[in-house]
Symmetry: C2
Subunit: 277 residues, 2 copies
């Protein structure tokens, strides 16, 4: 089993709406701190299983909204899926993760059916111009002093994924910010598990805060994240572009777009985060 | 009392978390069909009152996510507010609207404190270049044959607000689409009630689908809408820009940005909607 599927596995209890999960230390952004997108994907897997238990047949998340209510932890978790509506073309499910009897994550999902070879009827945006994955990997900066995306020992999601930054947007790792508030990177799972709609729920939150390219601050905690999954990715790595919008009054919005290896826009997300400047 | 405040009023029951509301026919987009943003603002008012009853002191919504679970109706509604977390700088509340014992709207809110004179520390975008409100009003196209934004008799939100389209983006009302998928308009309440953070929850959903400038379809129902309120608007009308993103595989994403009379970005929203082309 691929590492991502193992880490996001959920085990149904008898009622079909309650699931047990084990939040893994291999998908963290710091000691004991699970990545938010990893939690969203895990909760999404439970929501999808809950939908199927309730007779819904949609296979793909098409939208997700998540709130982090309390600090999630590595270790056991219980997820309750509440199917709000089973529809013909779209179904809605709410899911809540509890750890130590405390709600840590709340999310709502819309599930639908995406068709593999879909193309835009109108609109969409081509992927950004950036060097090939090989070139980005070859020009990878030396790991910095610890932290989720630099060096450091111990387990973290760094070892579960392979991310190659566009060299033009990797200066922040050496403390050289461009001030543009934009990161571009290639992404694939370390074990080459295909990127599919469910795992895109993780990928949309797998870059450091885009504000790190603007100003040095402490962590920039996500308050609210919304993701739209627009297509089933073609095989191969995906391209990510993460952009800060406006930093004002303690908040920042950040927008992620993801394209597949064929250049199709497959996911979009927006988040509001807290920031102290 | 201003019409908007009257229409979004909520009356607490004894427990402080249950509220009664009356969904008004004066804020509809068609006979008996309440506008989605109007519902979001009403639910938001109950969520805010629930937060204050629970000891939270934040005055402003800073983010909101809403799901329309079943068709909402004009008439009585019950709203339950569940305070998920009372924090120092941000608090989270979930609220559910029920009509005839059935859940019609589910929403989650983050409340915070926005400071009146805030300016961007970084980023943001200036308002679009468009004619003055007076010029847009003067060049208003003749009402079309019925529908929420054209002519038609009977009560609707058309009479509660004053919206003036940029003439460059009003051709769709005569069936002349530009294909750009963008609407720009000035907005104010008909009774000149100030636009404040709570009422921005309504304004973010107060334009017709931006896809109407691309392709003629039936209604384009919102599946998921997320709004970020970024600042307390200065007095006067606000400018709205609503843009379609990508139409693909039965779904479209649309992005709204709103600026106040001083040109400050005060609200942002994104929605995923269903579309049949």
């Amino acid at each position: 089993m691929a590492a991502f599927d193992d880490a996001t596995a959920v085990r149904p209890r008898g009622n079909g709406t309650t699931f047990d999960a084990d939040i893994s230390e291999n998908w963290t952004i710091g000691p004991g701190r699970p990545n938010g997108g990893y939690l969203l994907a895990t909760v999404g897997r439970a929501a999808l299983a809950g939908l199927h238990a309730a007779g819904g047949d949609q296979p793909h998340p098409v939208s997700a909204n998540v709130q982090y209510v309390a600090s999630p932890e590595v270790g056991p978790a219980v997820i309750e899926a509440e199917v709000m509506r089973v529809g013909r073309s779209a179904s809605q499910v709410r899911a809540v993760m509890r750890q130590h009897e405390k709600t840590t994550v709340e999310a709502t999902f819309i599930f639908g059916r995406l068709h593999e070879e879909s193309e835009p009827f109108w609109g969409g945006e081509p992927p950004p111009d950036m060097p090939s994955e090989e070139e980005c990997l070859a020009r990878r900066p030396a790991p910095g002093p610890g932290g989720p995306f630099g060096g450091g020992d111990g387990p973290s999601m760094r070892t579960s994924i392979q991310q190659a930054f566009d060299p033009d947007t990797s200066g922040w790792m050496r403390g050289e910010r461009t001030g543009k508030g934009e990161f571009r990177a290639w992404f694939r799972f370390a074990d080459d598990r295909p990127v599919d709609p469910l795992s895109l729920l993780f990928v949309v939150d797998a870059l450091p805060p885009a504000t790190f390219d603007v100003v040095q601050t402490g962590w920039v905690p996500t308050l609210d994240l919304t993701a739209y999954i627009r297509a089933v990715p073609a095989p191969g790595p995906v391209r990510m572009r993460f952009r800060a919008g406006m930093i004002q009054d303690g908040f920042v919005n950040e927008v992620m777009d993801i394209w597949d290896s064929r250049g199709r826009l497959v996911a979009q997300s927006t988040q509001l985060a807290g920031i102290r400047v």
